[in-house]
Amino acid sequence: MGVVHGEEMVLNIGPQHPATHGVLRLQVRTDGEVVSKITPYMGYLHRCFEKHCENVTYEQVIPFTDRCDYLASMSMNFGYVVAMERLMDIKVNERVEYIRIIMAELQRIASHLLCTGVFGLDLGAFTPFLWALRDRERILDLFELTCGARLLYNYMWVGGLSHDLPVGFVESTFKFLDYFEPKIDELENILAHNKILVERSADIGVMPKDIAISYGVTGPNLRASGVKWDLRKDDPYSIYDRFEFDVPIGQGLKGTVGDCWDRFYVRILEIRESVKIVRQALASIPKDGDVHQSLPKKIRPPKGSVYARTETPRGDLGYYIESDGSPIPYRLKMRSPAFTALSVLDEIGGGWLLSDVLAILGSLDIVLGEIDR
């Protein structure tokens, strides 16, 4: 950017910094405001979850999955139960499948709301953040209505759910969606088409298709780079193949395909798609069906291993579970989508100004709980 080169300075962003979304340390080499190298140091939130899982029974793993990606606990639960049910060959009834999809999509909306809000906050716009949180609260209210918890749900169990939907849930969710849809436009208007935000995020931190694929970036970050890849469509699990929805991809409307603006805008489009899915699922949810019907008496999967992947708000979440026939997992490994998103940061963030690096970090939507586990 500049032709004048001065002495380089090493700057530690974090672990306590308002823009690192948790406890992440970015060691950046800066020349004035220009950043030449970014080295992320993580592990400040490492809680040995994968090791813990080797010492507890399969049911007791679910709360640990909650605490990994604490902004999308439902989706983390969902991935684990999908993997376990594949390993144990359990078929759950229709009502459970529908409820799971409703919860996962509501969770996706909540997570994307937080992400877009925080992205605005990273760029200095305070109001959209609070608007997004206000609407997220309503989703958390729905979750609270269902399972009593607002953040860490422990809601999806292997072979079922902890609770059935409460009375009036379908109506209140419809009511929420009616309220929420105009609010998406509001959020989009104040953020996405704001001249200053476009200046700050278009053409910044461009992640080309090939880099995204070679780093294994998934989810909205990959789709923003123009790759139409969504496990809900391309490798359908649960009953996602029954719903009609689009997979939005980045089109470079304001700049280049795969820039910060695209990554941010894809999330807003995904919120709209999730609303569509929730509406369809609510409309066709079966009235009867016991959510505890297929719960196994004790979870003792046969010897063997399974790898199942699901689409969380942050991307392709994989669970590898190795069973030795005992009630305790022999090995459990998570493939974290945010981890790959963080590892691409140096590749796409070098050479930009300090403010841009934080914008890029915000647009990647990382959750440190999931990266460090």
Binding site: P18, E33, G124, A125, I196, R200, S355
Partner: protein, 357 residues
Amino acid sequence: MTVDYIFEGLNQMFSGFTGNEIFLIIAILLPCVGCFIFIALYGLVAIYAELKVSSFIHDKTGPMGQGVGLHAGKWGLLQPVADAIKLILKEDIIPSSADRPLYILAPFIIFIGAFVSFVAIPFGEKVIVADMNIGIFYILGIGSLAVIAIILAGWSSNNKWALYGGMRSAAQIVSYEIPAGISLVVVIMLTSSLSMQEIIGYQSGGMFGWILFDNPFMPIAFVIYFISALAETNRTPFDLPESESELVAGFVTEYSGMRYAFFFLSEYANMFVVSAVAVTAFLGGWQSPFPNFLNTSGWSVFWMMSKISLLIFVMIWIRFTVPRLRVDQLMHLCWKVFIPIGLFNVFGVAIWIIVRG
């Protein structure tokens, strides 16, 4: 002005001691104390306004002071008082590796810069501490004092974030002085005076006598001045020196307690000063917007305060609506947009004055 009145009044009251220098000192000190109290009270009101206006924009209630026990009064009216008490009672930390004298000096300098500007702000025909013949020039000059304090604060804190904040601020404030100055130059060209009172005197006769509507170039000058004023006072979208999501807190990162409160207070005082200059130069100062309607000297303070409050409200409104610019975009806006337009404006107004006589 006020100093003269007080001095004469004292002389008349105690006619036996006429010409005593103590009277002069008292006459100078009284308005200063008045200004100080005014800034402190205004600071409390401004904090409350910021809390409440932001709450309306954010779709929340803000401080409401509900519940039993110690709380912030009806509608949270006591919230700024609680904030002030908290800041006074907080431990005053000076980092061991800080440059101690400079670190201590910085909050005083920034406050002096904001405080001294109040001297030249007219609130009425006779309500002005000092009606200098170079009033507007004086305010512009004194206003630049803030940048020294910010650089001192940034440098002496011995903190990389503070240093970034200080350096950004230096570049920003020095740059934006130019468009602000250029847009005030056209006002001076019209009124052929640098005195605040004479500029206001030029705009008599209601709203359409205001310099803002004087000729087609003036709205442009007003917009440039207002945006530059935002940049000079480090308000969003130009709050890069203390951008909390990038630089933690910028140049005030290491400050706490009362020293921090001085930075905070001078930001609000600066907002007041730049709004007062904008009102004086473009919006008719202390005169009523309607000819012969409440246009007495008693109402002048009311009109001045309401116009300033309106501009401060707009500043708060902008702060909670738009994101922050990047440092190079900030410079681009200043040097490649505002200064050329501002210079064109000067040219245009000069021709206008010649043609219209």
